[in-house]
Amino acid sequence: MSEHAGPAATTAQATEKATTFDVVVVGAGPAGSAAALELARRGHHVALVERGAFPGAKNVYGGVIYGRILDELIPNWWEEAPIERWVTRRQTMLMTPTQSLTVDFRTENWGKPPYNGATAHRAKFDAWLASKAEEAGAELITSTVVTGLLTENGRIVGVRTDRPDGDLRARIVIACDGVNSFLAKQAGMYPDGQVHHTTLGVKETLALPRETIEERFGVSGTDGVDIELVGGTRGIAGGGFLYTNLDSVSVGVVLSLTELGKAKVRPEELIADLKRHPAIAPLVKGGELIEYAAHLIPEGGYNTMPKLTGDGILVTGDAAAMCLAAGIWLEGVNFAIGSGMYAGRAAAEALSKNTTDLSGYERMLHESFVLADHRKLKGAPELLLGDRVQNKYPAMICDLVENLFQVTNPAPKPGLRKLFRRGAKQHGIRLRDLAKDAITGFRAYG
């Protein structure tokens, strides 16, 4: 047994001195805190173990927390959650190095209760959610690494930590240990090929005065903007984002790991590209870097998820590859909260019935948005990370719009069909592929 958590760690037998809980939740991110909160409220003895000095210390994301699932856990959560701004303006921007086409939507509805999405700093938000679990009676144990699973006769009976005599015995372990989930890997639940559907998110948080943000982004008070960027990553599959915090903006890129590996370009250079882009530069100008951060994102969707239920273990959130990267929908924290909540609920059910049957977890996931959305959109990641959607379509569409708006006197206007045909040909797009992608798109999103 290796004494540290890592790819090669194995399972172990519990020592005599183990402390006993009903459930051990590993990782105090949104999934772990939701699971612990749910269990503690039902009166169970639950440990919430976090390797960072505080919950959120190790967590990074790229944008928006959609809070609807929180309604079920914390009524009127918006009155106390440490959020930065409520997203009332949502943009999707297709870009080439010299062009951009933006779909810009704003609504006042998202700026008042019950709100839709919020930007937040994870260090604050995750700590807040963990504090709710603690208030409910969960035992938060920080600065502690879970280094492995404890097993007896093939059943998981707890975890080993990096503290002396730090074994924690439990009837159920809930793995909320994030994208690298060494617990799911140790339990033999993780499928091979993770590198092929994982992206690297790299982000800069840039300080700007509140008034400057409000002027540049056209919002006031605590309203905010979320911009999703497609096509600005030098041909590397992925995307970019720019969103407003209260007195800073966060700008970053999300990059296919395997393509980044082959591309011979450094991630921060791609952020610099974005910051120089004519559509982005005026928005971030003069921002002072207050934090550079990086984190992996499990983007493969439904087809790449690990086994979610094992003998004495449930897997949730990023550990279960539950990030939804479906272009128009980019969601993660809400899936973590949802899956954590259902894991806590299923564990509580099993405990109260005194059974080892944890099948309730997956039933609840399938009946709710967590797996319903992922199942419905299982074709999206492959389509979206393909070369055409990533590179050819943004360039073709930007050119098409440029030619459409460009006045060509004295030559007569070419007409849309002709422009379209010409554009497709110019960008090496076969109409049959376009039709195929359209069908895939309708299937994935229909």
Binding site: A57, R122, A123, V145, T198, L200, L260, A293, A294, L296
Partner: protein, 96 residues
């Protein structure tokens, strides 16, 4: 619009690290010697993998984001031994 890019050192100084005495990641430069792709060198967001003149890799664990990029991309069995730093050590994101 010209963008004054800051040095990598200044970039990393925006992040808090509680440096552990134990190197949580170890790189076997001998094995890296025979690696032709070296994807870790430019993919690591913290820029911790530095090629040496004798064909090896010099690695420093101290300012690591603990993201996992290097071990996932590395295709040389045994070149990278990867673990999380001990509890409370390593990176702390103040914003995230």
């Amino acid at each position: 619009m010209d963008y004054p890019e800051i040095s990598f050192e200044d970039r990393m100084s925006t992040v808090d690290f509680q440096v552990s005495r134990r190197a949580h990641i170890e790189v076997d430069s001998e094995i890296c010697n025979s690696c032709t792709t070296r994807e870790c060198v430019h993919a690591c967001p913290a820029n911790l993998f530095v090629p040496t003149t004798d064909g090896g890799i010099l690695f420093n664990y101290e300012q690591c984001f603990e993201c996992g990029t290097c071990y996932l991309l590395c295709n040389k069995q045994g070149a990278i031994s990867w673990t999380y730093p001990d509890g409370g050590d390593g990176v702390t994101f103040r914003k995230g």
